[in-house]
């Protein structure tokens, strides 16, 4: 059963063709890492899946249910309003710049959506939030405001915030790119734990070590296309596509 499937997805920024007939399937429990040079459309792909960017054309299916089908920038077919909300909530999103709510404490950040969107009562929401903060190793920072936390701590709270909605898959948009090098490890550890717990994950990343160790598949994107899609061992050690070879030699 596939958790995410997109078919022939296209997207333009003005005249720039950022996604060109992208087909991607992520099966349940898979950890798929997306790598590639900047401007390849990696983040755009992730953001389009989550409806943060409108698609120009193509189909997106979540959990084998049609989320939407676009043609020429217009939605021609989509799930009902309620189903769409439910399907979108199956995807948790983690951003490069954390985007925690600065006027709420770490605990409130994790509790807020549960209470507003799911209507969970305060005690249950607090219990879920505290458990998640323990899981990301930040229970003692529950009452701190985001701006008092380090980047790595903020990102871990952001992961907890996304997990609080009990999504069945997680999208990570370069989660460690804005972090100081010594803080990257903590965030990657949390992500590794999640992967080992069986979470379906789609990760845009520049952490090749993480991709090699944790990913079940690695996708190389260039110029809006998926250029190569293989197991990490194959892709890193025997890249087939010349663009992949060029990219890997330039970063290693």
């Amino acid at each position: 059963m596939s958790m995410i499937r997109c078919e022939k997805c296209n997207k333009y920024f003005g005249s720039l063709h950022v996604l060109q007939d992208v087909d991607l399937t992520v099966e349940q429990g898979e950890v798929v890492c997306v790598i590639g040079p900047s401007g390849a459309g990696k983040s755009t792909l992730l953001r389009s899946l989550n409806q943060l960017e409108p698609l120009y054309s193509g189909k997106i299916l979540i959990d084998d249910e049609l989320l939407l089908h676009c043609e020429k920038g217009v939605i021609v077919e989509s799930a009902s309003r309620r189903d769409r909300k439910r399907l979108l909530l199956e995807m948790g999103m983690v951003f490069q710049s954390f985007n925690l709510f600065p006027h709420k404490t770490a605990l409130d950040n994790v509790m807020l959506a549960q209470q507003i969107v799911r209507g969970t009562n305060t005690e249950t929401a607090r219990e879920i939030a505290m458990n998640l903060l323990v899981k990301v190793g930040l229970e003692e920072k529950a009452d701190s405001y985001p701006l008092r936390l380090s980047g790595g701590q903020q990102q871990r709270v952001a992961i907890a915030r996304a997990l609080a909605m009990q999504p069945r898959m997680m999208l990570f948009d370069e989660p460690t790119s804005a972090l100081d090098p010594e803080l990257v490890g903590d965030v990657l550890r949390v992500m590794k734990d999640l992967a080992h717990g069986g979470m379906t994950m789609l990760v845009v990343t520049h952490e090749m070590g993480f991709a090699r160790e944790v990913a079940s598949r690695v996708i190389f994107m260039a110029d809006g296309c998926i250029a190569e899609d293989n197991t990490p061992a194959e892709l890193f050690d025997h890249p087939q596509n010349p663009r992949t070879q060029q990219f890997l030699t330039s970063i290693l």
Binding site: N50, I75, F95, N99, H103, K104, L147
Partner: protein
């Protein structure tokens, strides 16, 4: 430490003031070197009660106008940034929604364009003198009410721009993060964006408030007895231009008071930073 009851403090101050009067009188009537100066000083102090009474009108007009305008301007600001959030579909319902949204945006923008682009004084004249000529229904008897309406309408245009700018200064990622955890557009605005925007609004709103406090002197032209009107009356009746000094001092005291209030509000709202 022993707390001194308020009435004791006031009576003590009253006694000190009495001493001060006696001291000034001594100089003014004593015929010394600087007697003339103290005679003027005594005049100025004598005008203060009348000026303070008139400054209540200034204060009342400013506060009521700004409060009315604040409520109105939130809607104007949201109207100016109103967009249909979801992606275009083929449904007729969405087409209608898009049309209404565009109309709201144009009306809000047009309102701001007009009221920011014409002088407040003329708006005041128009509401007080011209509207009754167009239709007697608009004949506003009370000068204060006419001034209040004109000021509220004018200030709302400026506040709308302040609020719009504050909302748009909140990073886009905040709205995206809120949408990603399932909040609707209005929920994201109410719970995430606006609470952060309030703090950024305070310095420009304080600025606007102080401008209004001083611009309210325009109402002297429709003979509403505010601080400026009273001052000019005194100046011409008593033939002394010195009355402008205590009047300006009262304006300063009022602006100082509100500056402190707004600074405190800003600190309080920004506790998370």
């Amino acid at each position: 430490m022993r707390l001194t009851p308020a009435c004791v403090v006031i009576s003590k101050w009253g006694q000190k003031l009495d001493n001060l009067w006696a001291w000034i009188d001594g100089f003014a009537d004593g015929g010394g070197e600087h007697a003339a100066l103290f005679v003027e000083l005594r005049k100025i102090i004598g005008w203060l009660p009348a000026l303070i009474e008139a400054s209540w009108i200034t204060l009342a007009l400013t506060v009521t106008s700004v409060v009315t305008a604040l409520v109105f301007s939130v809607f104007l600001a949201l109207g100016k940034i109103a967009r249909v959030q979801s992606q275009r579909t083929k449904s007729i319902g969405q087409l209608v929604t898009r049309g209404i949204t565009t109309a709201i945006r144009w009306i809000s923008s047009g309102y701001v364009f007009f009221f920011r682009g014409t002088p407040l004084l003329m708006q005041l004249f128009f509401i007080y003198f011209t509207l009754p000529l167009i239709n007697p229904v608009f004949n506003i008897k009370s000068r204060f009410a006419a001034a209040w309406i004109a000021f509220s309408l004018n200030i709302a245009a400026y506040l709308a721009e302040i609020i719009r700018a504050a909302i748009q200064s909140i990073p886009k990622g905040q709205l995206e993060a809120a949408r990603a955890v399932g909040l609707s557009y209005m929920q994201s605005m109410r719970l995430i964006v606006l609470p952060q925007a309030y703090k950024r609004m305070i310095p420009p709103v304080c600025n606007e408030f102080i401008m209004v406090l001083k611009d309210s002197s325009l109402v002297s032209i429709i003979a509403l007895t505010d601080l400026t009107y009273k001052t000019t009356m005194l100046a011409s009746n008593k033939a002394s231009s010195l009355v402008y000094l205590p009047a300006m001092a009262i304006y300063l005291v009022m602006t100082a008071f509100f500056t402190v209030i707004f600074n405190r509000a800003e600190k309080k709202l920004g506790g998370y930073e």
